[in-house]
Symmetry: C2
Subunit: 614 residues, 2 copies
């Protein structure tokens, strides 16, 4: 059982070319050297690398969990080989400027190309994702010296990177971090690598926090600088961001041979995602780790969140690709496994036992489970690629288009993070169900996808945090402007789809729930007070997510039907898209109204609950 | 982190005494020797055994998976010790007649008492459950000699039992089993242990199929007897049932020292439920395993399904108890872990960073996740206990009451199997979410519950099979009589709850969806033809399950409110029940209408889907 990458590939091709029209990006100066051939070349390369160097070792990365012998953390050799192959492909610098060796690819193409690796082995993939996120942050906010010394070696694949936000007592509440950064002597501000501090504290859930791959690990660490009395500032405004290399470097970035004062305190043994080493790190067991401040004191979280929005889209796309992996594997199974017979016409629900068993894909309920997986996974892919297209627009678009892209991203990012994380776990559960008892064994890959995918509702901002972000900030920011813009875009899609006869019933359905969503949003904030408004934020997030996904499917199916009529896509391809859209819009979208009920009614159940009733 | 069994205990006490009024069973001759004290004594005993002998080894049973060294299957010593302690408690014969050493307990009390073990370690618990199911089947359908030789040693805990239904090519489609049973010589019909056959074939997914606990393993094996030309009869009507002991016995049941021709072909390595060894067995590698036919040829599946209905209720209750375990553990965590602060009144959704962090149970979304877990798990418990109460009524009730119980059980059994299996996995996912990153590690028990619970939608009839059973058979059987009886009972609960002011809005909501369910059922069958009727059977099952659970919660909350006004339950206890009922009926029951839409519209999506679109 293996993933059929050709399906992923033609799905990507359709999204990128027919739906998102990325060819038009090549008209912009930054992407002028690119064209359909270079984009296709990148996708070809990544498809091949994922199939050859990642997927064959995905189970191994799960069973041979990272191991700490007291001195070193060991990973399977295949993990290091896969990471090296990835580095050699140049993908670490996919989005960077050509003059530092980058490919200057649009974010959309970079995300699409990387999606193969997430499908193949999300646990191995994480190392490069973290490294690029780290280096991108340094490129955006570091000094020139910091970029050269700490970011460039990561783009070259010589060093690895991590993000250090959480602490054992502070996960979702970063304002409570207790890691201290104290100026390192009188001349601390004149270090060429940036203002030099000593870091003391403990950082939890650090993926890639310790291993022997590469020559160094660059930790980006949130910490607080104490005031004159030694007190840490309260709240998130007191947080700064520091570069803490595992091995110390000189001003030119050469390794000094000395280890920095950051030590592995323990490995976390997880339910899934086991290919990625996850650690508790102790900073300052020997007096304080040397760290270099990035930018201004107190802006650490702002810098981190610059990276976080893109990271959240990547989490969503990773969840989508795990969903795709399970979909494609269970589909392969359903077209190979014979069992059962069709029900005979008539009242008795009888079957003809003398008939040969049929392929299970012929059973209506198996079809439901396959199409639902497709609706969740391909829909999630489309949403995340749309968001990455908006990132490109924000960065390289002109005037209003860039501003609108930014506004849409504000509202869509919590959905791009949370919706795939929730529903592609459900897709993976359906993949298990299609395989039945076999799906429940470790002889097949689908149970691992389900375990791996369960992380995505937790890291990079939990589901509950996304819900508060959406209803508490995003739909009300700028007097509701970004939210209204999204509604306007969705209504535009309703209008466009209404012109195609096949799409009309779906367009009507989406139009109907859009009104409900708009109404519920106003009702939620009717009291004007956040505790009441946010009491049912998670139900709102779920409803909002389904509305967005209904829009995505309506628009994707519309584009597919138009691509068919212009001869660019086969009828089989288009029928698959239309079936998924019909399933999603007609079978799932009606759930929105149920989820919105407590929001519309400003239900106070959670606010008024006596503590004994919890 | 440990399960708070006291909560399970007072929940059981409420359900058994206040809601199901099991005290009235003691008026019946079979239970005349029992009373509140003996029932309480059994619950006390099982609560203690579960806490002391099962729960402490639940993780061990997961990590030290059954191992086959080529000669023997080894299990952790703790598993054997727990099973021995269970046998010594007398619970294996809990429901048996006193004259063979049984306790003559009602099914309701037996199920309630056993629920502690499912919460504590479902993987260890499975051995005794299978053994009792096996022996119960023998008591119902075996000859006197078969009962004495094969069932009694199982009640005494000396032998273990298994159920052999599936084969590698035939899981849900038992009509396709290929295991052959051929008469063992000319005098095969005169063996005192029953008509003697030689069994050849392979049986898959056999839990408890091989291990070294006890002196023998009694396999109950479905097989087909070939006709004169050696052909196996088609369909399920050709299936017979055989007793195949692992070690051969003489007519008096003494071990002959000879091994029967049944061999372990391999262990299945599962996602969860790892405490229970699961096997592929080969029958007849050396010419044919000796098997003794039970009852008449061709009635094997009927005999098996006699046991299956009770087994399905037990699967549901097991799922419920895994849900309870996760609920209680995540609740304990939420009352110990401080993080975050309340949102301040006003538009800004701001928090006061100088305030101390609060217990996470105070956050509305954490409360939602706890109350949802309670609604799923305690609701599932109540449903399964109600079904076991109906089993008692069917067996020991008088006249119409017994017939009505039987009719209600027909309709409710697929719900009791499927609803807890689906929603208590969701409960376990919420438990993980409450713990956040910690919940995703194997240092906490909640991830194991989630893995263990995922089996329940697969074994003992998959979700899809339950859906076909419900809509294809149960709601239409006897001209819809059992279904109408259930509707009538539910309307009775609506009327009773309507008399309490607090319950009125919930009663109205249930009344409303009952009409929709009745309408959708008629619409589904409007064509009069099963393929169309069953095209959306799983959506119907899901809707039906939620309606039943809305009814359960309405009635449980009504009973709680009445128990409070009569001074029998504290206000805190009652508020918990009312909150769960409010959550379920007002936040979840509206989903029913969305799920019923494709049923009401007789949506042909799955029937008309072109194969390229799957």
């Amino acid at each position: 059982m293996a993933i059929d990458y050709a399906v992923i590939r033609y799905t990507l091709d359709f999204y990128l070319n027919d739906w998102l029209e990325i060819g038009r990006l090549c008209e912009r100066p930054r992407f002028a050297d690119h064209g359909p051939e270079t984009f296709a070349g990148v996708l070809d390369l990544c498809e091949r690398l994922a199939a050859e160097r990642f997927e064959p070792f995905n189970r191994l990365a799960d069973t041979e969990e990272p191991h700490f012998d007291g001195a070193h953390v060991s990973l399977p050799a295949a993990t290091e080989q896969a990471c090296r192959a990835y580095a050699e492909s140049g993908m670490l610098a996919a989005a960077q400027d050509a003059d530092i060796g980058g490919m200057q690819l649009p974010c959309t193409v970079e995300m699409a190309a990387n999606s193969f690796f997430s499908a193949a082995s999300i646990g191995i993939r994480a190392y490069s994702m973290l490294t690029v996120a780290n280096a991108n942050l340094l490129m955006a906010h570091g000094s020139e010296q910091q970029r050269r010394v700490f970011a460039h070696p990561q783009f070259e694949g010589r060093w690895y990177g991590t993000m250090n936000l959480s602490e054992p007592q502070a996960g979702s509440s970063l304002s409570d971090i207790a890691t201290r950064a104290e100026p390192d002597g009188a001349g601390y501000e004149s270090d060429p690598l940036g203002p030099r501090y000593r870091i003391n504290g403990r950082k939890m859930w650090i993926s890639g926090g310790e291993h022997a791959m590469g020559e160094n690990i660059v930790h980006l660490v949130l910490a607080k600088i104490p005031d004159a009395e030694g007190r840490l500032p309260a709240g998130t405004k007191g947080i700064s961001l520091f570069i803490v290399p595992k091995f110390k470097v000189d001003a030119a970035g050469r390794l000094t041979g000395e280890r920095n004062d950051v030590a592995l305190a323990g490995l976390n043994h997880k339910l899934g995602y086991r290919g990625t080493v996850n650690t508790l790190l102790n900073y300052g067991e020997g007096g304080g780790a040397v760290g270099y401040r990035i930018g201004d004191a107190g802006l650490g979280l702002t810098y981190m969140f610059h990276m976080m929005n893109e990271a959240r889209i990547q989490v969503g796309l990773g969840a989508a690709m795990l969903g795709m992996a399970g979909y494609l594997e269970s589909r392969e199974y359903a077209f190979q496994r014979s069992q059962g017979r069709p029900i005979q016409p008539g009242r008795s629900a009888a079957k003809n036992p003398t008939q040969q068993p049929v392929l299970i894909e012929q059973h209506p309920d198996v079809r439901r489970m396959l199409v639902a997986q497709r609706a969740y996974s391909e829909g999630a892919m489309a949403l995340c690629l749309l968001c990455s297209r908006l990132v490109d627009e924000e960065r390289t678009g002109m005037g209003d288009a860039a501003l609108e892209a930014k506004a849409l991203l504000e509202v869509l990012t919590p959905i791009a993070k949370s919706w795939p994380s929730e529903w592609c776990v459900e897709a993976n559960s359906l993949a298990i169900q299609v395989l039945g008892g076999y799906g429940y064994t470790r002889d097949f890959p689908v149970e691992q996808h389900w375990r791996d995918n369960r992380l995505n509702m937790i890291h990079e901002g939990t589901h509950g945090i996304q819900a508060m972000d959406l209803l508490g900030r995003k739909v009300v920011m700028d007097n509701g402007g970004p939210f209204r813009l999204l509604l306007q875009r969705m209504r535009g899609s309703v209008a466009a789809a209404s012109e195609l006869a096949r799409m009309q019933p779906l367009a009507d359905e989406l139009g109907r729930v859009l009104l409900r969503l708009e109404h519920a949003t106003a009702r939620a904030w009717a009291s004007g007070s956040a505790p009441e408004a946010l009491a049912n934020a998670t139900a709102y997030l779920r409803a909002f997510g389904h509305v967005v996904m209904g829009w995505i499917w309506l628009d994707v199916a519309r584009a597919a039907v138009q691509a068919e009529s212009s001869g660019r896509r086969s009828s089989g391809f288009v029928e698959g898209k239309v079936a998924a859209a019909r399933y999603f819009v007609l079978h799932e979208l009606p759930l929105v109204e149920a989820w919105l009920r407590p929001v519309e009614q400003c239900d106070r159940l959670w606010l008024d609950l006596p503590v004994e009733a919890v």
